[in-house]
């Protein structure tokens, strides 16, 4: 277990300069994620074109892992269909929790999150934004969405 494997350059970069950070007006879905264990909060805003994520932004205060994961996620799912995004959620979830999960080349920058699996206490930090997204995509547009919690 090595800190450099957890805090890879990609993670540090996205923590320092989160992409797609801020408000999104108007949004088709707004959903809040919360990790009561550490107090991390994140708000996801999605603009949808029928079945496709046209735009996505996030806001919130969290640790480096949670911020970088959200930043990488918004980059990865922008332009994707619901199904594609949910499929990616499944693959990232496996990447974070399953030691045997292969790190496929097509995951691109998201592969940097694989360092988290050696740090079980930090898996929830990385997965909060993904659970929040999955919830947002599972809900009907314009529905009032409940808060997502990783506890």
């Amino acid at each position: 277990m090595d800190l450099a494997d957890l805090y890879r350059d990609v993670i540090l970069d996205h923590n320092r300069q989160p992409r797609n950070f801020g408000d999104l007006e108007p949004a088709d879905a707004v959903i809040e994620g919360f990790n009561p264990l550490c107090g991390d909060r994140l708000t996801l805003r999605l603009a949808l074109d029928a079945d496709r994520i046209r735009d996505i932004r996030f806001e919130g205060a969290g640790c480096a892992i949670s911020t970088a994961s959200a930043s990488l996620m918004t980059e990865a799912v922008k332009g994707k269909s619901r199904e594609e995004a949910l499929n990616l959620f499944e693959r990232v979830h496996a990447l974070l929790t399953d030691d045997a999960a292969p790190i496929a080349d097509d995951l691109g920058k998201l592969a940097a999150l694989s360092g988290v699996r050696a740090f079980p206490a930090r898996v929830k930090c990385a997965s909060l934004c993904w659970h929040t997204l999955a919830k947002a995509l599972a809900a009907k547009p314009a529905e009032v969405l409940p808060r997502v919690s990783t506890e």
Binding site: M1, L3, L6, Y7, L12, N15, R16, L37, C38, G39, D40, R41, A61, G62, C63, A64, I65, S66, T67, F119, A121, R122, C125
Partner: protein
């Protein structure tokens, strides 16, 4: 089983000798010697406690009270001896005033449900302070919901201090109970409880002190404090988890109905009427944590053999040293800068989230706590999601503080 005579040395505190009494301190974490700076969450166990629990489990276990056989009598004697030791430790008048509970949280819930709930009328007030642990907030909110009473919160200042005057101003004709921490778990602030208890008493207000964070650091004398209830947990004072104490003034405990029904707490049971057992058994329904209580008794005995005034002075030196060293780290801000503090430092570092600090320090073998410390209102007050907290016991060293500082520098550079 007992620590060496070295520990009694009056002039200076022999930390090396004390450390030898705590076997876990010899282990490594990720290849580095363990630096255990999370004592505020739970302290480690000395050999004396481990041996007492082991001896009980191997040689004396049986259910206590009412058994006529030898083991039951031995177990009962050990359990009740532990109660007597705790009575002596906090100088209660009688062992009847020492109730074994699961911990501080259960103790406070017991008082809320058994003392406060039958008494409170709509519009009555319970007074607490801003810096309480959730365990000293939520049980009162629950009883307020049940009775229509109101929870009143005394303010704290930007240093994390609670001033006696600002609490006293809120002690009114409707205040039925005042509950506050002896020491803040999130900030380390020592509250002026002697004065606050006296002020409450002068106004006829019943007092409960949450001693979870104080009991390992200060000599607590419930008679001289003159509080009505004092609650603490075994595991924060080098005893086992799952056992703690509620001290209650006998006159009040006598008046209170039992809060759980079952075995042990009764004298006679028929379907028409049950009569309750005497103190303290009235409040100890069911088979208690026997080994835990015996372990806690051993912890108290261990503490009794230490030179506690020297240990306190040493802890204070650790606090001063840590404060001084941490203040040299650029971007580090101490959260909780009260004049009177227990040996605990809470802090934030610009650009580094507490959670990341926790992981980085752990890689260097340093255990600290990060997050909101079950004191979300305190975090809200300081407009931060959480802090990193190093909390010291008398077995910590100046070298461990140096390692803490070096590791924090490393974290800061990683995120710079």
């Amino acid at each position: 089983m007992t620590p060496t005579a070295l520990l009694r040395e009056p002039a200076r505190f022999d930390v090396a000798a004390v450390r030898r009494e705590f076997p876990i301190l010899a282990r490594t974490v990720h290849g580095s010697p363990l630096a255990f700076l999370d004592n505020g969450a739970s302290a480690q166990r000395p050999n004396a406690v481990i041996a007492a629990v082991d001896d009980y489990e191997r040689n004396h276990h049986a259910n206590i009270h009412r058994g006529v056989h030898t083991l039951s009598q031995e177990a009962t004697a050990l359990y009740e001896r532990a109660r007597d030791r705790l009575r002596t430790f906090i100088n209660a008048r009688a062992s009847r005033e020492i109730l074994f509970v699961r911990g501080t949280t259960e103790a406070i819930n017991l008082v809320a449900q058994s003392y406060a709930r039958p008494l409170l009328q709509e519009g009555d007030e319970i007074l607490i302070t801003y810096l309480e642990h959730h365990a000293n907030i939520v049980p009162w909110q629950m009883v307020c919901e049940q009775t229509g009473a109101k929870l009143v919160v005394a303010p704290m200042d930007a240093n994390g201090e609670v001033h006696a005057e600002s609490v006293e101003r809120l002690m009114g004709p409707r205040t039925k109970l005042f509950a506050c921490a002896h020491v803040s778990n999130a900030l380390g602030t020592v509250l002026p409880i002697a004065r606050l208890i006296a002020s409450a008493k002068a106004r006829g207000i019943v007092t409960l002190i949450d001693g979870a964070q104080a009991i390992a650091h200060f000599a607590v004398d419930v008679q001289s404090l003159d509080c009505d209830f004092y609650a603490f947990s075994g595991h924060k004072m080098f005893g086992p988890t799952g056992v703690g104490v509620l001290y209650g003034r006998e006159r009040l405990l006598e008046r209170m109905p039992p809060w759980q029904g079952g075995g042990e707490m009764i004298l006679t049971v028929s379907f028409a009427k049950t009569t309750y057992n005497e103190l303290p058994h009235k409040f100890e329904a069911g088979t208690p944590n026997i080994s835990g209580a015996i372990g806690l008794g051993a912890a108290v005995e261990f503490l009794g053999e230490l030179d506690l005034p020297a240990a306190r002075r040493y802890e204070h030196e650790l606090l001063s040293y840590a404060t001084e060293r941490l203040e040299t780290i650029p971007g580090l801000r101490l959260v909780g800068t009260a004049a009177d503090k227990a040996s605990l430092v809470s802090f934030v570092v610009a650009g580094v989230h507490p959670h990341d600090i926790g992981t980085i320090l752990d890689q260097d073998g340093i255990a600290i706590r990060t997050g909101h410390h079950c004191a979300m209102p305190v975090m809200e007050f300081f407009k931060i999601p959480g802090t990193a907290r190093a909390s010291f016991a008398f077995y910590n060293t100046f070298a461990e503080i140096d390692r803490l500082v070096a590791s924090l520098e490393r974290a800061r550079k990683l995120f710079a």
